[in-house]
């Protein structure tokens, strides 16, 4: 199978590899996929006071297209407002990387990872009582409780 130049570029020079402190209240962590399916993505965002994503990191277990999809996602997230970031669609990733049909699920997983990270950040900040978490206020405490339990499973 031949890979597009963009997949190869992200695979050979992955952007933003690493981890942020998952206990930091300004950090949202999303882990999606499963080892037995051959794909696991961990994507993290760090959100500033103004609601902008100041940093994004990833680690991925998966094929070259999965690594490239998550690398590209972190690149797009940095500097964006967290609400704009929810607009990120897998089709954008798939077309940017020219993924073949059999690799579309890699871009879907990247979208899921972004959403999970944002959700985690929102939950943390809602659970913190809305104090000092910038313009984005998510006041659903029930979701916070469920989220905390799910957060525990991810670790």
């Amino acid at each position: 199978m031949a890979y597009s130049d963009k997949v190869l570029d992200h695979f050979n020079n992955p952007r933003n590899v690493g981890s942020l402190d998952k206990n930091d209240p300004t950090v949202g962590t999303g882990i999606v996929g499963a080892p037995e399916c051959g794909d696991v993505m961990k994507l993290q965002i760090k959100v500033g006071d103004d609601g902008r994503i100041v940093d994004a990191k990833f680690k991925t277990f998966g094929c070259g297209s999965a690594i490239a999809s998550s690398s590209l996602a972190t690149e797009w997230l940095k500097g964006r407002n967290v609400d704009d970031a929810t607009q990120l669609r897998n089709t954008d990733i798939a077309s940017e990387l020219s993924l073949p049909p059999v690799k579309i699920h890699c871009s879907v997983l990247a979208e899921d990872a972004v959403k999970a990270a944002i959700q985690d950040w929102k939950r943390k900040n809602a659970a913190a009582g809305g104090g000092g978490c910038g313009p984005v206020q998510v006041g659903v405490s029930a979701a916070g409780g469920a989220g905390a339990a799910r957060d525990g499973k991810d670790k």
Partner: protein, 407 residues
């Protein structure tokens, strides 16, 4: 000074092999001036072709201790498997219809059996142990008075495990059941004897032993017992009516030459290649931890090394060491999105099946190539583990089994 190694390095010899130059040389006249049809009885062109075909029959038969007349030419091992299994099922339908095979067989055997199952033949697919072995006892326990055929491969293509073929053959003789063995990977690499192993039908391929693609053979026993089968290709009645079609003379000459070369050099070559294989294995595990050997540690083809590199995925590994031509049991390399059914049958967890790489060495690999491969593999695994969230979790002491994944 290190010797310059030409890349890419080919280490996928269980998929196919390059033509040995000596084989090409033997074939050349039969592609040009000696072009006759082996079935032409009326002139020298046909006689020359027939003579070459009969010589190749002897060359192939000698590797397995058979009589030349027992060899039927086919287009390859897939056709040989189909002909053996369907041909026996059809010919012996009045005596019984039950077939026994194993979970790690090649798809050419498994899918043929499934086809017959859809036509009403009961099929037993035996499970294998953690090394990929079936035992004669398992075969015995599965036999019924309706069993007509047992089909167990000599050695597995993905993991190289060598089955106890002689024991299974002995059992089949005692029970009066025919025994077919797909020897695509074993033929020419390890000693095989149809007499000592009680094999009634054996599938053979040309391109796995430095012969040409598109040619194979089926050994069909003619004495004690005389095995009959229903031809699946109808036409001019070639090959004793078992396989019609004009013979692929240059291909058959090539298979014959390849078989003779393999037979003559088998002891030396298997020693040399297994030493290279063990050097590769040792060089990798000296630097890289969490590496699992898939298949049997000793009962294994001399050229095959199937390893799982925990926490990294196979296709991405192959992208990293792109100047090594290997293969993987990862789903990402297949259209099915399922990891290798062979590794699954051994009970290898799916995550480790996704992490598997098969190195299959061959006649033309060198020690310098092995050393470069060791370097490339160790560097790629280290690099990708730095990228792996699973490796990070494992380093933190989290057991991946305890994590509930969001699929």
């Amino acid at each position: 000074m290190p010797v310059a190694v030409k890349t890419p390095i080919y280490m996928d010899n269980n998929a196919t092999t390059p033509l040995d130059p000596r084989v090409l040389e033997a074939m050349m006249p039969y592609l040009t001036e000696k072009f006759g049809n082996a079935a032409s009885r009326s002139h020298i062109f046909g006689w020359k072709a027939e003579e070459a075909v009969e010589n190749a029959r002897r060359q192939v038969a000698e590797v397995i201790g058979a009589d030349a007349k027992d060899i039927v030419w086919t287009s390859g091992a897939t056709e040989s498997d189909n002909l053996a299994i369907k041909g026996i099922a059809e010919m012996y339908a009045e005596q019984g219809n039950h077939i026994i095979t194993a979970a790690t067989e090649h798809k050419a055997v498994l899918d043929t059996c499934h086809y017959l199952q859809s036509r009403g033949c009961p099929v037993t697919v035996l499970p294998v142990d953690e090394f990929g072995l079936v035992s004669a006892a398992q075969v015995a326990a599965a036999m019924t008075d309706k069993t007509v055929l047992v089909s167990i491969m000599a050695a597995n293509n993905e993991i190289g495990t060598i089955h106890p073929v002689a024991e299974i053959g002995k059992l089949c003789k005692e029970r009066g059941v025919l025994f077919h063995s797909d020897a695509t990977q074993a033929f020419g690499k390890i000693p095989l004897s149809v007499e000592a192993m009680g094999i009634d039908l054996m599938s053979i391929s040309g391109h796995k032993i430095y012969g040409p693609k598109g040619v194979g053979a089926l050994y069909v026993r003619r004495k004690s017992p005389r095995v009959r089968l229903t031809g699946q290709m109808h036409g001019g009645g070639h090959e004793r009516g078992m396989r019609s079609g004009t013979l692929n003379v240059p291909g058959i000459v090539g298979l014959g030459a390849a078989a003779e070369i393999a037979q003559r050099g088998m002891t030396e070559e298997s020693g040399r290649i297994s030493a290279l294989r063990d050097r590769l294995h040792a060089g990798i595990t000296a630097k890289t931890d969490h590496v699992r050997l898939n298949g049997h540690p000793t009962r294994r083809l001399p050229n095959t090394l199937n390893l799982s590199f925990a926490y990294v995925e196979g296709e991405s590994l192959m992208m990293k060491f792109k100047d090594l031509a290997v293969s993987s049991g990862s789903a990402c390399t297949s259209a099915s999105l399922e990891p290798s059914y062979v590794l699954r049958a051994l009970g290898v967890p799916d995550d480790l099946a996704h992490s598997s790489i098969r190195f299959s060495l061959g006649r033309f690999n060198t020690a310098e190539e092995i050393d470069l491969a060791i370097e490339r593999v160790n560097a790629a695994v280290a690099e990708l583990r730095q990228l792996s969230p699973l490796y990070e979790l494992a380093q933190e002491g989290v057991s991946l089994k305890d994590v509930q994944w969001k699929k």
